[in-house]
Amino acid sequence: MNQYRLLHITEFHYDGPVSESYNEVRLRPINDESQSCLSFRLSSKPASQHSSHRDSFGNWVHHFNILAEHRTLRVEAESVVMVHEAREMREDGVTLAAFDAMRDEVADEHYDLLEPTAYVPHPPRLTELIQEAEAAANNVVGFARAASNLVHNRFRYEKGATEVHSTVHDALNSGAGVCQDFAHLLLAMLRMRGLPGRYVSGYLVPRREAERNADAGAPPSMEEVIGGYASHAWAEVFVPGTGWLGLDPTLGGAVSEQHIRLAIGRDYGDVAPVRGVYKGHAGQRLSVDVRVRPAVDDEGRELLQETAAGPAEEPAEEPPPQQQQQQQQQ
């Protein structure tokens, strides 16, 4: 069981004055049987009042508006989360043959999580990879794990190879992508095989300072590369009789206590952490900074030193300059 304190800062910098900015954020960690959200606080600069609701997937959505002119918008979300021990991924559970016998029933119950979406179409090109995963296992968990490993091994992790609106087609064409694309690829494979899959947005907690120190001098591992920009995405598969199991195709394994879940949906479009529209002709730049630290150490003392920090700056898409109303999305 691990407890973390999270600080997620999103900053939009506009080239000129903007106004009537309306935003919705999905930044409050999920509270369910696998993790507990102990506290959550949201603030913005310029200051605003916010209200919240649960969307149809059960995610917390907070919304706020800023009417007055401004040139930067800063959104700060602070939370404390306790992640419970990850469920064991046993491969002696329901077989693919047994699953196929109840496929119609599952399809009826989980319709939304089986249909192709804008980000996750079902390209026939993936059929071969699905067959390969099926050859590796005769049960649902084994298949899902094999599919996740195939995505991990056959696609290159490369920032800039894709962008925020890239689909499974784009990732297949480039052979590379980031965690969002890896999660979408795995979802396409699961759903095309008839297994309900959902997209998870969240954070990956980097390994602790101490563990990193032991590796001093070694090149940064995949975890650390992502850790500098702790926002992460992965997928969950529905296993009849067991429930939802998390798989991380970017790292190649099952999810662990280092995975903190923020929101679930059909694809990235359902869970974008920050979305908004505003009035103005200005272009925008986005910067995101996520800091995660264990809230208490093994003896129960509160840790003061942050284990990871690292602003990552990404240029947002250039909006058409003549449009009166523009959108922003992280």
């Binding site: 009537e20 609701h53 969307d55 508006n65 319709y111 529209v277």
Partner: protein
């Protein structure tokens, strides 16, 4: 602005009797029970018209057109590439319904509106009907107009379908009325109902016994009463607005007409602003809080934060205000899931499921192309069927098999194979006909008609102004009555009695 076209009065050939060459053509004729024999409820009108000199009729017709033109009652056709504003052709011969027929229609519409509203409450709430497997879940969840954003939102007083326009046709084979489609989003046309009656009374002040006709002029007052009742703070003087996409919308005339009739503001999206989940109207004296919005903007353009981010027509933040219960919207968001043309096939089942009643008005037989067996049948019989795209309205996205050419049929065959869920098919209904004036011959001729009554729902009872909009296919032989496709309209009378 488009160019306004009016048809100048044509010089009719010399005709002695307007009904001189009238032929019922084997269809159910609303006016005649058999050739030359008017039905009892049409007897007075027939007597008046058949003894009227054709020049007099022609002159009245010109006056009526002028009256519409001077009031600026026009609509826009989108697909003809010219964006032309046109007069909605008005046919002076009224369509008359005897009281007993109307009572039957009213009973049928009332139960249908109640069931549709209960379906919407259910589908955005507990989804009991899906759990009980009365309708396939995939069919509902795959509707383009199903709004997941609405799940869990409680619209004021549980009303989704404040205003419904339900299209009825009479089948010549049986003489019975059938429901052709439900319009539960932003049905338009009621302004023509009211204006047609006004023009009719002006054009023939004495000729017709209008005192035998049930009045309809209370529609705006009934609508306003329902809108007032939705006010979130229950105050005595709520601020109501009509929200229009603007002057280029085909129904802009109606938006301004209804706002004026109800004595409320007509606004566009840019006139409203949301702050902390409260909607305000920008006025010269500052911001005024808005309580109720009769919106005539489609769901997906209503709020660029919740729906299409490229929409400039709506009000960002509006859905948050709606969810917070600070503003009421009529109609509710997400109604399109209930008037989807594939869902339509299940409405009789909704009536049995939610009300425990048998449907009073029957549906037209419908093939769901999402079902492989139905699709196969439809593909083999395209030449005999009407195929419709499920999410469209206004006669767009439609194939009428018997009158289509080979290329059109081939195109639909491709569409159906590519996206079967998006289509339904129905047999061609030989619509009943009503005597209508044919300017080319200067005589009366039978033309196919339908009927769209407007149903208001106040949360307890359904209020229907007697009659509705009778649309008429003015082209000889045409079955398409939509204004966008060259149709016109008639004044619709419901008599106090049966004759």
């Amino acid at each position: 602005m488009g160019i306004l076209e009016i048809v100048s009065p044509t010089q009719a050939p010399h005709v002695k009797n307007l009904f001189g060459h009238y032929d019922t053509g084997g269809f159910y004729d609303e006016m005649f029970s058999s050739p030359g024999v008017p039905r009892p409820h049409f007897r007075h009108i027939y007597q008046t018209l058949s003894t009227m000199r054709p020049e007099v009729f022609e002159e009245r017709r010109h006056l009526a057109d002028l009256s519409f033109l001077l009031q600026g009652i026009t609509f826009t056709v989108y697909s003809d590439g010219r964006g032309t504003e046109r007069l909605f052709p008005f046919d002076l011969v009224p369509r008359i319904l005897p009281r007993h027929e109307w009572d039957h229609i009213e009973r049928g519409l009332t139960q249908r509106v109640l069931a549709l509203n209960l379906f919407l409450q259910d589908i955005y709430g507990p989804q009991r009907i899906l759990k009980d497997r009365k309708i396939p879940r995939p069919l509902v969840l795959s509707c383009r107009h199903f709004r997941r954003e609405m799940i869990g939102i409680q619209p004021p007083r549980g009303i989704y379908t404040h205003i419904s326009g339900i299209d009825l046709v009479r089948d010549s084979k049986t003489g019975e009325f059938y429901v052709l489609e439900d319009n539960l989003r932003t049905p338009s046309g009621v302004s023509y109902v009211l204006e047609n009656r006004l023009v009719m009374t002006r054009t023939f002040p004495r000729a017709f016994e209008l005192d035998q006709v049930l009045p309809i002029s209370h529609y705006p007052a009934e609508l306003c009463q329902i809108l007032r009742s939705l006010s979130p703070h229950g105050g005595s003087d709520p601020v109501i607005v009509v929200l229009t996409p603007g002057i280029y919308n085909s129904a802009y005339f109606e938006h301004s007409f209804l706002a004026q009739q109800m004595g409320v503001e007509l606004v566009e999206g840019r006139d409203l602003v949301v702050d902390c989940d409260v909607v305000y109207m920008k006025t010269i004296r500052g911001l005024t809080r808005v309580d109720v919005i009769y919106r005539r903007i489609d769901d997906e353009f209503l709020d660029s934060l919740a729906f299409r981010s490229d929409s400039l027509l709506g009000v960002p933040g509006l859905i948050s205000a709606y969810r917070a219960g600070n503003v009421a919207l009529a109609n509710a968001v997400g109604n399109g899931v209930a008037d989807d043309k594939a869902i339509y096939a299940f409405v009789p089942e909704f009536i049995r499921y939610y009300l425990g009643e048998e449907p009073v008005l029957r549906n037209v037989e419908t093939y769901l192309c999402s079902r492989p067996d139905h699709l196969e049948y439809v593909l083999a019989h395209l030449e005999e069927l009407v195929v419709k795209a499920v999410g469209e309205s206004g006669g767009y996205g439609m194939l009428i098999g018997p009158s289509a050419d080979g290329a059109q049929i081939d195109a639909f065959r491709r569409h159906l194979r590519e996206d079967p869920r998006n289509y339904i098919a129905q047999p061609v209904i030989p619509l009943s006909r009503c005597a209508s004036y044919d300017p080319a011959s200067g005589e009366m001729a039978g033309r196919h008609i339908d009927l769209r009554p407007y149903c208001l729902f106040d949360g307890e009872k359904v209020i229907i102004v007697p009659g509705g909009l009778t649309r008429v296919a003015l082209k000889p032989g045409s079955l398409v009555v939509n204004s966008s496709q060259g149709g016109g309209s008639k004044d619709t009378w419901v008599l106090r009695g049966d004759a």
